[in-house]
Point group: C2
Chain length 737, copies 2
């Protein structure tokens, strides 16, 4: 291949304008955001003393700290692994080496890049942990605060829950962006013109963020759902006491959101897609004249995204006003539409100001002329696909539409038909989302090859702050309801929080749709970057090495799901025994005169999640290493493609099945329509069948489903980090035979 | 590419020996078989007058005839489509045209190949229908006969049930092989040296067989499972009357096996893998000196397989003797092991006698030297992989091992944990079978490219007669139990048939494992043949055309499963209403003094299955056409690869989840161990939870799961048939833009 010296944005005007835009866009939202965060945080802070920490918060904090201890050990071990593997590429030599993409140049020694990769891995991991921890803290305060505000009315409670979600969203997006921006700039001081090394080192950031996200999602999912399933099985099914009743010792552990996991997850996607875009950009515009401003286009998109989300959020909290229950869901959905519409304008501006009319990119040896309007289309198609996926998810999981109502109706004939209809709904809900994903891939790839896909992924994630706000809103209002129940507050308050929660369930499903859709694009971009780094030119399904990778890769999401589902099941069984024991042995508990032993339940959940998150974590983290080392990069590329196409489908169907069951149950409980009333009330046979569906759905929608996007992203980013090692030292088995 | 004139077996000695072997191997088993069939058939025939036709048989026959009417219309329409599409390639010209693989030669006009393809499509369809119909007939007689023999003891009943299965197996294998052999020879008269045209025409046979199998599986699955689920929901869950009680009007429709569907399915696999092997052989050994004997190697494998299975079956029915319940399962499993071991010797002999030491094959432009021992290894690895997959399936679905016992144990805490554990078991059971499949692909592809994969698939299917025998044995004993219950026979007889059935459930699961494993290999071989015919040299995942195909293809099994599951659910709801109506409105029905209105239930099942099999059928049949015509062969190859890797996983997990739930229920009911007795007896809470799992599993294991292998095979064979059309006239959308 003949590499030519080109840059993505060659005009020096573009350079200056770009740098100015970056600074403005990075600084302005950071400042504004800081103000907002401080203001809203104070509101939440008031609850520090109102006892929220004893209601779920304590359990959650102790769980997180225990988790971080184990995760910390893993992090250090894996950091050492990264250093050893990447450093050994050139035998730990400190001399310069030939660059891969531009063989005429000398690049920094692999040893130093190994050090920088390790550092950025640790940075990513710490940023992720901090994001997760802050998210959890915000959530636990927000939970109680929302309950208190619910006394004043639905509108007030909504504002608090939503603002808390927004604080989380902004904190996370800004956190990720700032750390990445600073890291790139600091590394640049050492690397100078060695773009290859710089962006190789930066990929560690994505890996760090994502691996923490995996543990957050899996550990948090098992922790919460073991308690949830256990509490429901004994409380609702056997003893007929209400959900979240304080007499049930397991509810305490349930009252911890999936927030830490979710925050880390979307942060991971964000970090990875930025890294993927940067790596692909560096590869696509290799040569001597790399333009630093031009490389910043991906970061520009994200920065504009934060600004846009800020405006959108202000609309919900300060301009429009939610007064009644019915206005909640439209308000949340409007958030998505507004942010997407504004973002489209934002992308257009950025593409027009910072990008020259036409420039050249290189991918897999193909030279491509890209116009700025094409780049705009790449980002826009990703952005709008995200919205479509979100709304399709909503259609299949909201009880305002016929799919969930059909599932509720099938409860008439018992739990079996409910489960059959729910599974069928999940399978069906996969169909439509695949098409926007496929179209995004086709359009963005046709215009700008892998670079197009990377920026399309960023486009989908550009409204992440809004997405996270409405996503976090769900668990916050759910837990607010739990607190109301546990604190023995009046029935009206519980009704209000339930209404908030029903909307939250739907928006949480939208958030999951987003997460999965973006994971597909991010993984593909990372996959593209990996293939480039591993110097493969084709991934031909017709070669046996690739095909066996493909079929094994497609199996991995099943393996992973089997582990996580079984873990929840096993932990729930233990929880059931403990709850039964307490209800039977503690005198006065059922009468409400004695307190249950919450601590033991928290300990069961904590121990189970720590113990059970190791095997699935090992599966995800070790597979790329084993395949790369023993079978080589071709098989590994097959594994990545296989896990991507298969994982996306299971993730969508698992999340939506679970969401639909949950809302079918809520539909019957709420009894808001003629039809719903024929199925209810609580405690009727159809309702009992619906509770069984809901319980089955818990691990599907909150443990295995949402962990799968991390699986596919994480394997891709890990392969990318180790690509240079695999390319030089991998494929031992095939070399031997 | 430079095509050379080579033949697979170049020595004239090989030619003669091969032809002799073919004749011997084809004639001998046919004769022996005919004798056995006549002898055993007479045994079954005695039941013609013993009323079996009124017990399920009538419903089944009327269902099949209604189904065949609709399917007949489809068949004619599709035959016209094949003729028009393939005929139009050269504008319906009757002049000779340049051959694809050997451009120096003239091949027969496309118009005539279109006619022959149409004829072989119709032949395949009719053979499949006949196989299905005969299978059904044998089964309905065998059902009643088995019930009668059960009065004399378990051993007698076992022999009858097993012999009936064997009659079906041999009938089907011999049917398929003979028709194919005769067709090839007759077509050869016209085609002469035009091997390309000959084998293109022959692929229609596979398509015909497979499309009928699809309707058989889907239609039969919906028919049976709608009745089964409906009967269970009202009878067992609401009214607490036993399974298969004659007072329940829906049991009649349940008492029809999945036998027609299964027979057609495995026949389809068989026909397709033979076609795939022939096509790939013709492509791999193109040139002037195609050797007819050499092309017969795939047919030789199948012929030897029939002989081996005959010997194996005789061992079970005439040499060893089953006396007690405990001996049933080992006896059935021994069948598999013996046939596999004998077959290994058989393959070795065939490969040694009919194949020269070394010959050359061509695949995707690569020339490969293949030794006869390598060919032997290709077939053997497929054969043994099938056995491993079978035993893994057994491990996960038999209640003799811990996985199913764990699922049964989880019923303690209710239906929800049962469903969670069952789903997790299904996911987990995917892991191990993927490895033998991957290893088979790798080994056989490395030795003999796509030809290797085709013969590996044939190897896995070579013991099909034994496989079918033990597979058909399951539903036969299940229905025998139903008849015993309906005829009000003594409790002891029902216990015996239940024991037969428990073993049958496991072996049916083994059969499904086989069907899925072989479907994966067959589809891959067909995929390879398609790619060759469509003149694509690489299927590169990194091109957007292929990748969008891959992700959409991976979605198709979900779409298909959603349709079939929902269909069963909907039909079951209707059935529930009808059963409730009858139980409430027919006086004396519950007391057993009045007869239920079976006919209405049969009509509901029949109407539902006819109506509901059209959308999934259309999805499978139209997708390759639409993708090929509008998006072209690259995208279509992506779709095939995607549906293959994703479909195999869902098919395995769905079948095994359903099988495990069924046997977990039986485990509790049988109460054979200390542990099982703590969960029982019938009617206890854990048992009720187990019944719910079993009901959910019905559509998974008998409708959507087993239809998925047909989906992946059928799309591949259809693409192969239309490949020349797509290659010349397809991809309209990409041509336009």
């Amino acid at each position: 291949m003949v590499w030519q010296n080109i840059s993505l944005w060659s005009s020096s005007g573009g350079k200056v304008v770009g740098q100015v835009v970056v600074v403005i866009v990075l600084v302005v939202p950071t400042m504004v955001m800081a103000t907002v965060v401080v203001r809203w945080w104070r509101q939440c802070w008031r609850c520090w003393s109102c006892g929220s920490d004893s209601v779920g918060g304590a359990g959650a904090t102790s769980f997180l700290f225990t988790e971080y201890q184990y995760v910390g050990i893993f992090m250090i071990a894996f950091a050492v692994l990264i250093f050893v593997f990447l450093g050994s590429i050139n035998g730990f030599s400190t001399s310069y080496q030939q660059c891969t993409y531009d063989p005429t140049k000398q690049c920094k020694p692999a040893l130093f890049t190994a050090i920088f990769s390790t550092v950025s891995f640790i940075l990513g991991a710490i940023t992720s942990v901090v994001s997760g921890f802050l998210g959890m803290k915000i959530a636990t305060y927000a939970n109680a605060r929302t309950t208190l505000e619910a006394r004043k009315g639905v509108g007030k409670a909504f504002i608090v829950a939503f603002r808390s979600g927004a604080v989380m969203g902004f904190l996370l997006a800004a956190n990720g962006l700032l750390v990445l921006y600073v890291t790139v700039n600091v590394f640049k001081v050492y690397y100078g013109d060695d773009w290859e090394g710089l962006f190789e080192a930066i990929t560690g950031y994505g890996l760090g963020g994502s691996s923490m996200a995996l543990f957050g999602r899996v550990g948090g999912g098992i922790y919460t759902k073991a308690a949830d399933v256990g509490a429901d099985l004994v409380g609702k099914v056997e003893r007929n006491i209400p959900e979240d009743d304080p007499r049930n010792p397991a509810v305490i552990a349930d009252n911890v959101g999936d927030i830490a996991g979710m925050g880390s997850d979307l942060f991971g996607s964000y970090a990875e897609s930025s890294c993927a875009a940067l790596v692909v950009a560096s590869i696509s515009s290799f040569g001597n004249n790399h333009d630093f401003t031009s490389m910043m286009y991906p970061l520009l998109i994200s920065s504009v995204g934060i600004l846009v989300c800020l405006l959108t959020t202000l609309y919900a909290t300060d301009i429009s006003e939610v007064k009644t229950v019915k206005e909640i869901e439209p308000a949340l959905k409007n958030q998505l539409i507004i942010s997407t519409a504004l973002m489209t304008i934002g992308i257009a501006l950025v593409s027009w100001i910072a990008v020259p009319y036409s420039f050249t990119i290189f991918n897999f040896g193909v030279q491509k002329e890209v116009k700025n309007w094409q780049l705009f289309l790449c980002v826009a198609v990703g952005l709008w696909s995200g919205l479509i996926i979100g709304f399709v998810t909503e259609y299949y999981t909201s009880n305002a539409y016929s799919p969930v109502q059909d599932v509720a109706d099938s409860c008439r004939t018992g739990a079996a038909t409910n489960v059959i209809f729910g599974l069928a709904l999940g399978y069906k809900s996969v169909i439509i989302p695949i098409f926007p994903i496929a179209i995004s891939i086709f359009v963005s790839f046709s215009f700008a090859a892998m670079y197009g896909i990377a920026v399309a992924a960023l486009g989908m994630l550009s409204t992440i702050a809004t997405g996270l706000a409405i996503d976090a809103y769900g668990p916050i209002s759910d837990n607010a309801g739990g607190i109301a129940e546990m604190a023995g507050m009046s029935h009206r308050i519980r009704e209000r929080t339930d209404a908030l929660d029903a909307a939250g369930n739907t928006t949480a499903a939208i958030g999951k749709g987003f997460a999965i859709g973006s994971a597909a694009l991010v993984s593909l971009a990372l996959f593209g970057a990996f293939v480039s780094r591993a110097e493969i030119t084709t991934v031909d399904v017709l070669t046996p090495k690739v095909f066996i990778g493909l079929i094994v890769g497609a199996m991995l999401p099943y393996w992973f799901s089997a582990m996580t589902m079984k873990s929840v099941g096993k932990a729930a069984l233990k929880m059931v025994e403990e709850v039964r024991r307490q209800l039977n042995s503690i005198p006065g508990l059922m009468e409400g005169t004695a307190k249950p032993d919450y601590a033991t339940c928290v300990k069961i959940s904590t121990d189970a999640s720590i113990k059970e998150m190791i095997p699935p974590g090992a599966l995800v983290m070790l597979t790329p290493l084993i395949v790369g080392i023993f079978f080589g990069v071709e098989t590994l590329s097959g594994v990545l493609a296989g896990s991507l196409v298969s994982g996306v489908q299971i993730a969508i169907s698992a999340s939506n099945t679970g969401g639909a069951w949950d809302n079918a149950k809520k539909y019957i409980e709420a009894g808001a329509s003629e039809h719903a009333r024929t199925l209810g009330p609580k405690g009727s046979d159809p309702h009992k069948a619906a509770v069984i569906g809901d319980t089955v759905g818990d691990p599907l929608k909150d443990t295995s489903g949402p962990s799968l996007n991390i699986l596919i992203k994480l394997m891709a980013v890990e392969s990318l980090v180790f690509a240079p090692f695999f390319a030089t030292h991998g494929g031992l088995l095939f070399k031997t035979f």
